[in-house]
């Protein structure tokens, strides 16, 4: 995903998720924040993941003791 977003691109992206009330200063903030988030993505060592590595959120159900 390219990290050279323009303000107009960010305005369109924001509108697509219903964020239509952002003024230009807010959109500048959204652009900086999105660029920072994308840079952070690059720091995730995803190449170390195997297909069967499961998320931390996978949960365990308890058996019903009455059955």
């Amino acid at each position: 995903m390219p990290n050279d977003l323009t303000l107009e691109e960010v305005r369109t992206m924001a509108a697509e998720i219903g964020m239509t009330r952002l003024d230009d200063a807010h959109l500048q903030q959204l652009m900086r924040a999105t660029k920072a988030a994308r840079a952070r993505r690059a720091a995730l060592p995803v190449a170390t993941l195997e297909p069967a590595d499961e998320p931390a959120h996978v949960f365990r159900l308890d058996a019903d003791p009455d059955r």
Partner: protein, 467 residues
């Protein structure tokens, strides 16, 4: 006897129980101190002296008739203003929740109320526990009691400032990427992020469901253990609550560290990030003290700090944006600039990135916990730098990211920040003591041994100095 405003919980409890100190007189002394000095520190968002005196009078009547409830009975405390107290607004330091009156107590509040604590008020935070220090909110940011021109850390800013300033012996904070331990480090007090799930989050405004923790800030390790014992325990109404009874946090205090195995994660603050030289020297001296006390110390390696931080921030911003998305659509102008920008970082995180961060979380957590086969606790840095000036946004932004607390929100491990001396400028230095899940008693044991050997808690900021 210690000046009454700097009494610790353990010391105050003995005086209160034996009727040598009146809960009402104790509360009045702290009320007077807060009234004289909080104008320069802004630790409180809502100071409630009337409620405090009501609690104190009730405690006094109970103690006089022999119905002592335990170590917090008649002892003042405060709550970070994302924790519900029935009948008072929980503002999260934000215009958005300015009129958000709590219908019930958070479970933590309920436990402190049942313990007979004297509630003194709601404490400053960063907006929604993420945006601060900010000067564009309905309330000013808390300042550092050691030097009011400096940042006091956050997001549990008021909690750290109030405890360091002698306004309260204990306060409740929350920690998602280090927000109990940062103000503890900056203000020279003790703060713990307990094991994930040990303390209920019910009634606490969320920042990131899978990373949020509730923990106490105090001036000593023993007081911190006493507080955690009071608030820990399972809560069937908190989906993240652990089936662990808690308790026994004070069980190992005073046993020393002779023969204990301590692993030092030095690469966090020397290789992955280069900490300020005074901070590194403070931590290294603390490690030497523990070795001199008989601990078996060696360096250990874990994943690079950058990996932990990327996992923490990807999960945190994704979960936080899910909570704030509707307000971002409807009233973005009502956020302060810092909270708005930090929360917006989650707007366009891809679903696959969030899931991969949680997959990496499981891997690095398993690997980190495996280290505890060969060690009893780990020691590492907390903040990389002493507190910077609060009026220098670039310095705040720079130091905000220079920390090694977030790894333990990822792993869920208990992690405690304890004072490790002072910089030449008189600002606190700190280190972290980290344990395996539910080993809070061991974490407190090691921190207590260090604290007793160094006695940093004997130093207090001079609030009359005008700095």
């Amino acid at each position: 006897m210690t000046d009454v405003v700097y009494l610790g919980i353990a010391e105050a409890a003995e005086l209160l129980r034996s009727k040598k100190l009146s809960p009402v007189e104790y509360a009045k002394a702290l009320i007077d101190r807060i009234e004289r000095h909080d104008g320069g520190l802004n630790a409180f968002i809502r100071f409630t002296p009337d409620l405090a005196l009501e609690d104190a009078r009730r405690a006094e009547a109970e103690i006089m008739r022999g119905a002592w409830r335990g170590p917090l009975h008649g002892v003042p405390y405060g709550l970070k203003d994302i924790v519900d107290y029935v009948g008072l607004p929980t503002t999260a330091h934000s215009k958005i929740l300015k009129d958000n009156v709590a219908a019930t107590d958070a479970l933590v509040t309920q436990k402190l109320r049942e313990a007979g604590g004297v509630f003194m008020g709601k404490l400053s935070t960063h907006e929604f526990a993420i945006g601060g220090p900010s000067f564009d909110l309905p309330w000013p940011p808390a300042r550092n009691p050691w030097n009011r021109d400096h940042f006091c850390g956050g997001s549990s800013s008021g909690s750290g400032a109030a405890v360091a300033a002698g306004f309260l012996p204990a306060a409740i904070g929350t920690d998602t990427g280090g927000s109990v331990r940062n103000p503890a480090s900056m203000c020279g007090v003790v703060g713990i992020k307990p094991t994930y799930g040990l303390v209920s989050r019910r009634g606490v405004f969320p920042l990131s469901f899978s990373l949020d923790h509730v923990g106490p800030l105090t001036r000593t390790v023993r007081d911190n253990a006493l507080m955690l014992d009071l608030i820990a325990g399972p809560d069937p109404l908190d989906p993240g609550s652990a089936a662990h009874a808690g308790g026994a946090c004070t069980a190992q205090l005073g046993r020393g560290v002779e023969g204990l195995r301590i692993g030092v994660i030095r690469h966090f603050y020397t290789r992955d990030m280069e900490a300020d030289a005074e901070m590194t020297a403070g931590i290294d001296a603390a490690v030497k003290t523990l070795a001199d006390l008989g601990a078996r110390v060696r360096e250990i390696e874990t994943a690079p700090l950058s990996e932990y931080l990327a996992v923490n921030r990807t999960i945190l911003t994704s979960e936080a944006f899910a909570i704030h998305e509707n307000w971002m659509r409807e009233r973005p102008q009502d956020y302060g600039a810092l909270a708005r920008e930090r929360l917006m970082a989650g707007a366009f995180v891809r679903a696959a990135d969030y899931v991969n961060a949680t997959r990496l979380r499981r891997k690095i957590t398993d690997a980190f916990h495996a280290l505890f086969t060969d060690i009893d606790v780990a020691i590492t840095s907390s903040s990389m730098d002493p507190a910077c000036r609060i009026d220098d946004p670039k310095a705040v932004e720079y130091t905000y990211a220079r920390q090694s607390r977030a790894p333990f929100n990822v792993t869920g491990s208990p992690a405690l920040s304890v004072p490790a001396g002072f910089s030449k400028a008189g600002l606190p230095l700190a280190m972290q003591v980290v344990g395996k899940p539910f080993s809070e008693a061991m974490v407190y044991r090691v921190a207590d041994a260090y604290e007793q050997a160094t006695q940093w808690f004997e130093r207090h900021p001079r609030l009359d100095a005008g700095r």
